[in-house]
Amino acid sequence: MKMKKNWLLLLVVLMAVALVFTACASTEKEDDTEVTTPENPVIRLSTTTSVNDSGLLAYLQPYFEEATGYTLEITSNGTGAAVALGETGDADCLLVHAKATEEEFINGGYGVDRIPFMYNYFVIVGPESDPAGVADATSAADAFKAIADSASTEFVSRGDDSGTNKAEMNIWTSINVNPSGQSWYISSGSGMGATLNQASERLAYCLTDKATFLASAANLDLKILLASSEDIKNTYSLIAVNPEAWPDTNIDGANAFIEWMTSDEASDLIAEYGVEEYGEQLFFVMDQQ
């Protein structure tokens, strides 16, 4: 009997706590929505996991929402699935970084226009000992050649058709190496974070975007060995989903988002992102218009 009472009490307390939290959450929302709300205020943005993992969108989101009154609903998937959401009309806007896929998407009539708006460089990370001598390479192609030639080292690939994975495959193609199935080539089929984890556990090399790497560098036994070579430049684009293909999509919202992202306010915010935390800029805004 006593036991039962205690349980009941615990339950009541838990429920009360939950109630307080939800109450807090809803009051916060009310404070935020002071700008005039657009007719269709929800923008479904589909992006890749690496963009989402970088934290950039979470950082920009409140500024954007305050400035425009829109609400962003961000879903993140691998590049293939992220783009597929646009093809099926389940997203209003894409933020991706895989040029060939993007062009295919536009040519298929699913997207309005491809708007490259920022870039950064992939980096090659690996164990401090650097057995393949990647640190001495002058380009990513050189580095990959060194890794492929050095029998004792492993390379961990995302192997998930993501933008990062595609950039990596382009480099292998450029040096005429087909790594698939080789004993030193680990195709992890995982997101960037998990792939870096594997590389660290195996003391292997890995191609990664800088933001994700820096975000988890403290837990990894890996170092940046090659940064900012031209052949591993990573360009991010915005694409509004074509309302002619999917009339129900929020084209006004998508355009508003694109407009804001390319504005001076956003450009300044993007340039500042990461500087305080990692001591360096993670994303560079394109000179455009």
């Binding site: 691998g78 058709d161 698939s180 199935g181 680990i186 594997q198 556990e201 036994d221």
Partner: protein, 227 residues
């Protein structure tokens, strides 16, 4: 229908990746089920047939573990096997044995709990009878297992079903490495994420077919025993 045709073509064709995925899946599920059975069933029989101090609490713990979220099991095993973890020296992370370990953590409580409840139904009567005719105590576990075999086949199937369909834990500790630790579920996740739905559906169909075949075999076994 198109997906089904694709799946059959993939199956009949000489798709090395698909073969590897199916082989790794079966290998992992088989060994996880086997080891969990070897640990879980005898202990389950003991728990289901004996009275001892703290049994109620032990049963409660087992029932809680039966519902252990796979990703939690995966995380624990990951931390144990990680290079910086206590078992890091064995370099087991991202290997089939690592996946088997995580699965054993997940499935053993299920085997144990189900075996205990299956056993408790007949334990009292069986033990009174066997002790009454002086059958040595060391034979009791075997007798209880044998007499419960029809239900225990179902318990085994439950374990196997969990093993083959689990995704969170094997992703974490296996790492979904192509040709090495990629199993059907993690491959489906990956292909879906790639937007490669045909391959994902094909894998899904194969997974269902494997389940169907194995369940039919189990049913056959049960019917033979229960003629």
């Amino acid at each position: 229908m198109k997906y089904f045709v694709d799946a059959l073509q993939l199956l009949l064709g000489n798709n090395g990746e698909l073969r590897s995925i199916v082989a790794v899946t079966l290998q992992m599920s088989f060994f996880s089920t086997l080891i969990s059975m070897l640990i879980g069933m005898p202990l389950g029989v003991l728990i289901g047939s004996r009275k001892f101090v703290g049994k109620r609490y032990l049963v409660r713990v087992i029932h809680t573990l039966m519902g252990l979220p796979p990703v939690v099991a995966g995380l624990i095993v990951f931390l144990l096997l990680s290079r910086s973890g206590p078992l890091g020296e064995f370099q087991l992370l991202f290997s089939v044995p690592a996946m088997v370990i995580a699965q054993v953590v997940l499935i053993t409580p299920i085997m144990m709990g189900l075996t205990a409840s299956v056993t408790s139904v007949r334990a009292k009567s069986l033990l009174e009878t066997s002790r009454g005719i002086g059958i040595p105590r060391r034979k009791e576990i075997g007798l209880l297992l044998y007499e419960g075999r029809i239900q225990l086949i179902a318990v085994m199937m439950t374990g196997f079903g969990r093993a083959i369909s689990e995704v969170g834990a094997v992703q974490i500790v296996g790492g979904n490495v192509q040709f090495k630790t990629r199993v059907m579920t993690t491959a489906i996740m990956l292909e879906t994420n790639k937007g490669n739905f045909e391959f994902a559906v094909a894998l899904g169909i194969i997974l269902l077919l494997i389940s169907l075949i194995i369940n039919s075999l189990a049913q056959r076994l049960q019917e033979e025993k229960d003629d």
